[in-house]
Symmetry: C2
Subunit: 534 residues, 2 copies
């Protein structure tokens, strides 16, 4: 594209006086006061947008190593308070806008830097972020066809495309998009609950009588999954924990025993929830075995594939989801591993018609009572939200432009690089790497020679904190079986082995400081005959 | 701002070849392939962003009367399918991007036009839409302080500002932001449930024993409120419906009788849910009376103020929320009546410390077990989402730039204009306007002389459909006590009385057509001795 195609508009809105522009674009029937128009000024919009695009482009083309710059809340609050217009009425001020933008970027986690290795947040495909501005400005509440035509069509197109990759027969399954995996998991469990306890929607859980509805989850299930039981009235005590094997996957034999034992205790497990990509280490549960087990117990199988569900798009990684086609439902977060803005979660049901049983209720002022060709494609009663962002369009847009392989390429690269990081760390004598990564998450422990195993967990937390404070890298930590480990999640495709070596060097440097400090402290305690803790 | 401050960046990214730019910004440690880099190209980002800004600015400065252009799903699907790159791998194509953008804008509800009067969706403050692109590109998952520093601070600043307007004493209440009023209402009812039935989180609803937990809602409560009972295990049968007065507010005397009757039947109403701004007509329930009633029954009072809660910001409108300070909790949708992008809902609790009782569960790999100054300000366990968009920043940004009065001015204008529309319609002999509007929602019936009252409801639906099909205006419809009415929601501050006259003229024109058609049909039936429906 030539600059001429961009510049005319900028000139149009920049070179006019703001008030002149507002007057010239004002309709004769407008009743708003001049100052009211100002808050919606087109000129100010263009100025703010160009400023934002400039800063974002600068950031994207930068290459500094950064994790996050933590500020104390009191300090940040003082800075933020200073940026608020002092009187109750202000005017657009590009300088103030830029300062707020800068403060946001300064204090952000630096997901676009190779130093950010902390959690499952990715830099997004830039075109998708641009589209988020469009859908913010031109809202299409996607629950209704009338109000969100293209998002409802995009749902159907991606349903068809992704369902084919699962291996499900055309027209027999369905997909609903929703705002986050927490909501998707709850929705799927509600479908299972309403299916196995048909009285529960109207009668409540007390209507289950002497039966005790329960769900079964792996020991490493995400906290949003286990709390579903508390929310939907089953109770946390009715969560059966399925034991893990050494790879931290649900162990089928252990799970079978746990379910038998639960049944013996009077629990009625109506839903087994497996993970494809646990939050802690990215493990994939053995889906074929769990599907058979769920079937034997007459239970629904839901797979929380928030993280690894995206493996579907890659011919190389898809086999790791073997058995997903046997699940009654599963969800995946496109905002995690398909690199679009949050929140964009896809919830799939193996059997068409199940989605509308999550919230079996209709209300005429919201939805027309008679189904026609238009209401038939809308998500309406099938999702929790009433106003639902058309987030699916971000994914459909990127998919339409780049095709499936763009996502597959990045995902495969991240998984490969995580494998390489594993091999590198495993070859270092002062690092323990307990699990071979199944996706882009790697947990490890730094264990310098001579460090007591009782000292190790605290050392990892200190390392996480020191690395974070130094500013170049950001890692997270995880507690597994009472041991604290460091955890890296590779989401940025620009990260190379060089960066892994960099963070390792940084960790060693901090560990030396910490341990020297330990030694000095203990020497001082000896000199002054103090006991630790005094 | 001068054009020079914008142009350099555009030149930088536009005049270079895309591949050259990627190479020049590539780090030496980058492992991604060239094609992978391309999907995240800075140059393509700038090109797409400028295209989007141009289209949005053109749209904002346009002044055509438009509602929505409905397309048949099959036709739209064919058009959308055509825009998808045929192979599995594509390249950025500005032309394809523009075509997708255009299709989105073409099929959108035209919330920026004076013709859009259908539902509670507003054109947003443009700076807020710009910021949505920033937070899409630079995500800050706002549940954690580490990952979302500024959003957590913005939460605290707006909590303080808005809580003062409620009249609550500083430091005694709290606010959590969440994704939509459906989620906020469910969260508040969970707090009430966990408060009144402390065993329910762990033991489940069956643990309530012989008690039958119930909630009470007005007959006009939003569908998301009534379905909470089905979701959280109480059961829809345990929803007590409180009768309305002639203004469609909950009638306190009727409510008292309904609650007594419910208690007599063994229902244990633990939560009364009132509305400040019903979806149907925008009515505000009598909060002081309902607060006294809830107290007498030992029940929690939650107010679904999704629509009218924003009246808080206006000195003139705030008195309509009288009694809100007595509620145990209430929520308001900033994406409805504070004109920021969806979803941005604020959930307030009168008593500090209640928020963390909604989901009383902690998980160490997500949240650090020890509270410090940083975790103390984060929303973490207080909200349903794990990944939470920092939507509060859109509101805080606009508030910081424009101050409270910007929101108040627009809201007051909308309410005034709706009152004027009421008076105008009420003065027309062929319109029935059953309720004086309490906010910006107006329901009415067109009743041309000589039309049978049995014919009226169908006529209104036909009018909604014909007005929509003509393309200049968009209205919604609502069913109240078995009667269908037309409904206008004024969200665009540019709408003037002239536009109300315009839609009235349009309605009359369509009604004449419809009734003439009726007459012709009935004449034909008479001639051919057919019965209606044959």
């Amino acid at each position: 594209m030539t600059p001429e195609r961009i510049f005319p508009m900028v000139k149009l809105y920049e070179q006019k006086d703001v008030n002149e522009l507002d007057d010239s674009s004002a309709s004769t029937s407008k009743a708003g006061s001049a100052s009211l128009e100002e808050f919606f000024s087109v000129g100010d919009f263009a100025a703010a947008a160009h400023q934002a695009v400039k800063r974002l482009a600068d950031m994207l083309s930068g290459d500094s190593l950064e994790g996050v710059r933590l500020q104390r809340p009191a300090d940040l609050m003082a800075r933020a308070r200073n940026l608020m217009v002092p009187a109750d009425r202000g005017r657009f001020d590009l300088h103030r806008f830029s300062e707020i933008l800068d403060l946001y970027l300064e204090t952000a986690i630096k997901v676009n830097s190779r130093g950010y290795m902390a959690r499952q947040f990715s830099s997004v495909m830039p075109v998708a972020a641009v589209f988020d501005m469009v859908s913010a400005m031109v809202p299409q509440p996607a629950s209704y066809y009338e109000a969100g035509q293209l998002p409802n069509i995009a749902d159907r197109l991606l349903e068809e495309t992704l369902g084919r990759l699962v291996g499900w027969p055309h027209g027999r399954f369905e997909m609903v998009t929703t705002s986050g995996a927490s909501l998707a998991n709850m929705t799927a469990v509600l479908v299972a609950r309403n299916h196995c306890f048909p009285q529960s929607w109207n009668g409540g859980l007390a209507a289950a009588g002497s039966r005790r509805p329960a769900i079964a989850v792996g020991e490493d299930a995400h906290f949003s999954v286990t709390r579903v039981a508390g929310i939907i009235g089953i109770g946390q005590d009715q969560v059966v924990r399925l034991p893990l094997n050494y790879r931290r996957q649900i162990c089928p034999a252990g799970a079978a025993a746990a379910l038998d034992s639960a049944a013996f205790c009077g629990l009625d497990v109506f839903c087994v929830i497996a993970s494809a990509g646990t939050t802690s280490i990215g493990a994939n549960d053995p889906l074929p075995e769990l599907a058979a087990l769920a079937k034997r117990h007459g239970a629904w199988l839901h797979v929380d594939a928030a993280h690894n569900g995206a493996f579907l798009v890659s011919d190389r990684l898809r086999p790791r989801l073997s058995g997903l086609e046997l699940a009654d439902s599963f969800c995946m977060d496109a905002h995690k591993t398909l690199f679009v803005p949050a929140l964009c979660t896809l919830l799939f049901y193996k059997q068409k018609g199940m989605a509308e049983t999550a919230f079996p209720q209709k209300d005429s002022y919201v939805f027309d009572p008679f189904e026609d060709e238009m209401t038939a494609v809308q998500s309406g009663v099938k999702n929790f939200e009433c106003t639902k962002r058309p987030a699916i369009l971000n994914l459909w847009l990127a998919w339409s432009l780049y095709g499936r392989h763009a996502f597959a390429d990045k995902l495969e690269h991240l998984v490969t690089m995580t494998g390489a990081a594993h091999d590198y760390l495993a070859s270092q004598p002062d690092f323990l790497v307990p699990h071979r990564p199944e996706s882009n998450i790697l947990c490890f422990v730094h264990r310098p020679a001579g460090v007591d195993s009782r000292r190790l967990s605290r050392l990892q937390i200190q390392l996480r904190d020191r690395v974070r404070a130094a500013g170049q890298y950001l890692l997270s930590k995880v507690d597994l079986d009472g041991r604290t480990m460091l955890r890296m999640v590779l989401m940025n495709h620009q990260i190379g082995l060089h960066d892994i070596e960099g963070v390792v060097a940084e960790i060693r440097r901090h560990a030396r400081d910490i341990l020297e400090n330990d030694a000095t402290e203990s020497e001082q305690m000896r000199l002054f005959r103090l006991q630790p803790g005094e």
